[in-house]
């Protein structure tokens, strides 16, 4: 009988912080931009240039640390990590090894109804590297330093995860916390959130950890799940065939669905860290920490409690809405503009979800404004449009964020409240449908529906169904 194995996973998660400028110079962090147009002597490693720390980076790093229950290192420093690579202009990366800004945190995750904590070993600040692009015409590489010096935090977990599901739950949790903080947009596909997976396997029941590998280049949750499964199998195969697992860094190729070792004899992996003499230490005083703490936003768990008390919407709705900072923001802003909470939640839970599925976007991709949703709800409240028109208009809001008032006016979609026109249409319907009239009078309530349909058709869908009903009953 085969042995059973347990997978042990720790994560190193890099998150690009949403500051306007780079960590050590006044260059823009904006994405896009022609190669090397967001660079200066500092972020291209020119001789004599010196780094000066962006205060916003420290504040965002501390905010993430507080939100993940870390201890904040009150006196921290930057260290240099030395290694040669063309995307690293100084051939050292300014990072933190000896005194990282946050330590010993934890976040709670839930998988299949089971809750557990994933401990955070540390969070440190560092600078991102530039980008290397292969040039097929000259068979060389081209270096773009636009990303060089973009601020990153690296969140290092303890090896507390046991499955791909737990890893993804942990990443979702981190992403939600960081998005709630506004510290980053955490997009895996654009690289503003990147996860390296440290994985080892051991026989179930074993106390010892196996030899771990680090897998890089994981650009989606799906890739992460695939890479974990693949690496688990690879290590088990090695162990079962009596071969050693080598401690190494591997690169995942998601199209080919396999990983390969990134090894080179020129790669000694001896980073010779030492305190960077060009930067002075950081002291986080009680006052500063208090200020950052006071500026922390309301997180999901707090929102859940408040929504329940304040808005009386179902727990299920609350779960869905608070699971995205974007949805929660739209929800709260729409209510602030005067809409009734239950109605807003209905729009989000039904039509928005349907359209998200149809357009294959997630909540972060939503681009409509609370203002237009609020106007739409008000128009239905005021009976200016009926329900089916509202759905049609919302689709336009969802895709193009149109202003509903103007749109309805322009397309003549407003409910017709002209009593004369309505009476005429009803009278015509009664006159032209003797069978339905007879059935109704004979006690068949359902026959009224056919008459309502005729009237709505005659009114081009712009009548208020309730008024039509009332008028027909009067006539009959």
């Amino acid at each position: 009988m085969g042995k059973t194995y347990e997978t042990v996973i720790g994560l190193e998660v890099h998150v690009e912080l949403a500051t306007k400028t780079k960590i050590f110079c006044g260059c823009s962090t904006e994405f896009g931009g022609a190669p090397n147009t967001h660079t200066c002597p500092v972020c291209t490693g020119m001789p004599g240039s010196l780094p000066v720390l962006n205060k916003g980076v420290v504040e965002k790093a501390v905010a993430v640390g507080l939100a993940t229950n870390c201890t904040i290192t009150r006196n921290c420093k930057f260290d240099r990590k030395n290694y040669f690579y063309p995307d690293n202009p100084q051939n050292y990366q300014i990072s933190q090894l000896y005194y990282p800004i946050c330590r010993d945190g934890k976040v709670e995750i839930e998988v299949d109804g089971k809750k557990k904590y994933v401990r955070i070993h540390e969070i440190h600040m560092e600078e991102d590297a530039g980008k290397l692009v292969h040039d097929p015409y000259t068979d060389s590489s081209l270096v773009d330093f636009n990303r060089s010096g973009v601020p990153l935090i690296e969140i290092v977990s303890e090896p507390d995860m046991r499955s791909a599901e737990e890893v993804i739950a942990y990443l979702e949790k981190l992403r939600l916390i960081i998005q709630y903080l506004g510290a980053s947009d955490c997009k895996l596909n654009e690289g503003s959130m990147r996860a390296d997976v440290n994985l080892s396997v051991r026989e179930v029941g074993s106390e010892e950890f196996g030899t771990r590998t680090e897998t890089k280049n994981l650009n989606s949750f799906k890739a992460i799940a695939r890479a974990i499964e693949n690496e688990r199998e690879r290590q088990i195969d090695l162990i079962e065939s009596g071969e050693p697992v080598i401690q190494e860094t591997r690169r995942w190729d998601d199209t080919k669905e396999y990983s390969y070792a990134m090894r080179s004899k020129e790669d000694a992996q001896d980073y010779r860290y030492f305190p960077d003499p060009d930067l002075v230490p950081i002291h986080i005083s009680d006052e500063w920490l208090k200020e950052i703490r006071n500026n922390q936003p309301e997180f999901r768990d707090e929102k859940r409690i408040r929504y329940k008390e304040e808005y009386q919407i179902p727990d299920y709705d609350i779960d869905i809405i608070t699971n995205s900072k974007k949805l929660a923001d739209i929800f709260e802003e729409t209510i602030a503009l005067g809409a009734q909470p239950k109605k807003v939640s209905n729009w989000l839970m039904v039509e928005t979800m349907r359209l998200m599925k149809e357009h294959q976007i997630d909540a972060d991709g939503l681009s409509f404004s609370a203002k237009n949703l609020a106007s739409l709800i008000k128009m239905t409240d005021d009976k200016k449009i009926n329900g089916s028109v509202a759905k049609e208009v919302f689709e336009k809001i969802f895709t193009e964020d149109i202003e509903p008032e103007a749109y309805v006016k322009e397309h003549g979609l407003a409910t017709v409240n002209d009593e004369g026109a309505l009476r005429t249409a009803c009278e015509e319907a009664v006159a032209n449908n003797p069978k339905a009239v007879e059935d109704y009078r004979g006690g068949k309530e359902k026959a009224l529906g056919a008459l309502v349909g005729q009237v709505m058709k005659a009114m081009k869908g712009k009548a208020d169904p309730a008024s039509v009903n009332k008028m027909l009953r009067e006539l009959l």
Binding site: G26, A34, P35, N36, H38, T39, D135, L142, P275, I282
Partner: protein, 95 residues
């Protein structure tokens, strides 16, 4: 302290320096002499001394998060040994 050929080769990889055999011989001697000389520091008991990475106790020197640099690419690229398409050109990297 005796410095081996392996140590010299290893440090050469770290420092990206390629030494000729003659230079290696000299480097072995120089490094070993120097390490013997600096071992003088071991005469001092520093058990309870805190390592002083920064001489003065200044801290919290920050920059506000405001963009001050514009596009200076052409100027910066002037010193590049090789460039192409607004980028620094280097021998093919392995990934």
């Amino acid at each position: 302290m005796t410095i081996t050929d392996e140590t010299i080769d290893y440090v050469g990889i770290l420092a990206k320096l390629e030494l000729s055999d003659e230079e290696k011989l000299q480097a072995k001697k120089d490094m070993s002499d120097m390490l013997d000389y600096v071992s003088k520091l071991n005469e001092l008991d520093t058990e309870n001394v805190e390592a002083m990475s920064h001489t003065f106790s200044y801290n919290n020197v920050f920059r506000e998060d405001v963009v001050i640099n514009g596009d200076n690419r052409d100027n910066l690229l002037k010193n590049a040994p090789e460039q192409k398409d607004g980028c620094y050109k280097v021998p093919k990297t392995f990934d």
